[in-house]
Symmetry: C2
Subunit: 271 residues, 2 copies
Amino acid sequence: MLANNRHLFDEATRVTAGDSCWQGQTSDDYWAFVGPFGGVTAATILRALIDHPQRTGDPLALTVNFCAAIAQGAFDLDIRLVKANRSTQHWSVEMTQGAEVATLATAVFAERRPSWSHQQAKFPQATPVEQTLPYTKVSIPWVKQYDFRFVEGEPDFSGRPQAAPASTFSKLWIGDRIPRKIDALSLMSMSDAFFGRAFHARRELMPFGTVSLTTYFHADADDIAAEDASRVLALADAKIFHKSYGDQTGELWSPNGRLLATTTQIAYFKA
Amino acid sequence: MLANNRHLFDEATRVTAGDSCWQGQTSDDYWAFVGPFGGVTAATILRALIDHPQRTGDPLALTVNFCAAIAQGAFDLDIRLVKANRSTQHWSVEMTQGAEVATLATAVFAERRPSWSHQQAKFPQATPVEQTLPYTKVSIPWVKQYDFRFVEGEPDFSGRPQAAPASTFSKLWIGDRIPRKIDALSLMSMSDAFFGRAFHARRELMPFGTVSLTTYFHADADDIAAEDASRVLALADAKIFHKSYGDQTGELWSPNGRLLATTTQIAYFKA
């Protein structure tokens, strides 16, 4: 049931090694409004790095800058190991379609050594997933690939007039619709799987696009595998919307209370 | 008094345009333990972009990955405009010394258009700067270039045994020691001017280094200039320390209560 190799997510993030660069293909299953869901784009970049023969260690940080709309179809990934030392690797990845750069990413991989360990953040209280209703109100392709269950902050897109902006905080369970064991790839994708905070604040949909996304991994592959989870408890919020751009911060927790990843992004909106 | 052109910070972040790349020089005034203060490195990269003849718009996002120790002396900045459209520019910057890449950065610049505006985050309460004592307990060169005044969470490096890790939260006023009007450059630098959260948690100094730093600007040059500020109210906290890496999040507020920038980083520590 949790076999990852034939899952739609693994199909969507598939890459093949070429001569000077790698190739991938957008997935209709994870399509958003005018291009592929950014989380799957980010996960595809991460997969190419994880599969790279020179890669050592586990993902520590990935930043993806979305430079242009990605057209349906094939793309190339130009991957470059910029610097490596005993325990870390610094990578650069450019996703191109023809002569155009669509995304520009940097990544850090690390062989994480044992150390003093302390989780400063507290595991958020939440209703158990079995007692939380699935969210089924949006029929965008990528959204349908996830099982979203809002504990707090379910979006209200009714767009009804209101005196003040609504809360931008959300707490929800996120799993793949077809269950899939959580790994760094799905964490990367889920770190972009929150609805735009501007939608929450204004209670309406509007033109919106992530410009830059950064995710930090706080668990290595062994740590993540040991959680044996198929969902995360996810938190998202925003601090500001100003002159067409707004931020978002997020946390992805294992059901056992381990903070697996934190994420932040800045996004364009038109309102 | 607030003339920015002869300030030590402006000397430290000075760059000159060359043929195929730009040049800069590390500053002893902003030296840290084993290399230049990362904030000044990040600000130097930002200055080269702001000064670049092809640059349009204002800084929106800057991510700097610190790949290797930067040696005292000269460095090159290889600057590339990767993609531009009507309102945004995507840049890549590599700082090199000889054949070695020392830092790898990506930046987004944007011409920010008027929009609906809303500051979701609340301006933190703080004692006025005049009633807050300067912090003078550390004599590292870069630290001496700043006027730090802790409202909460002044670090305690006594290293005395304790039952549990200490708080990682800090709230402080940060200004340049020699007053300098806040701009995007100083915001970039100040976003790395918090003491390592691991130092706070463990109440001791230890080998520590920022690996990746991301700052988002929530105000354009006009907005920042209109604040006419020479200090920010700065907040920092951490969520987790695990297997030699820990995170940090931060906010930089104008004294008038405007959120100018948010920042996050992941850092190596040895403990």
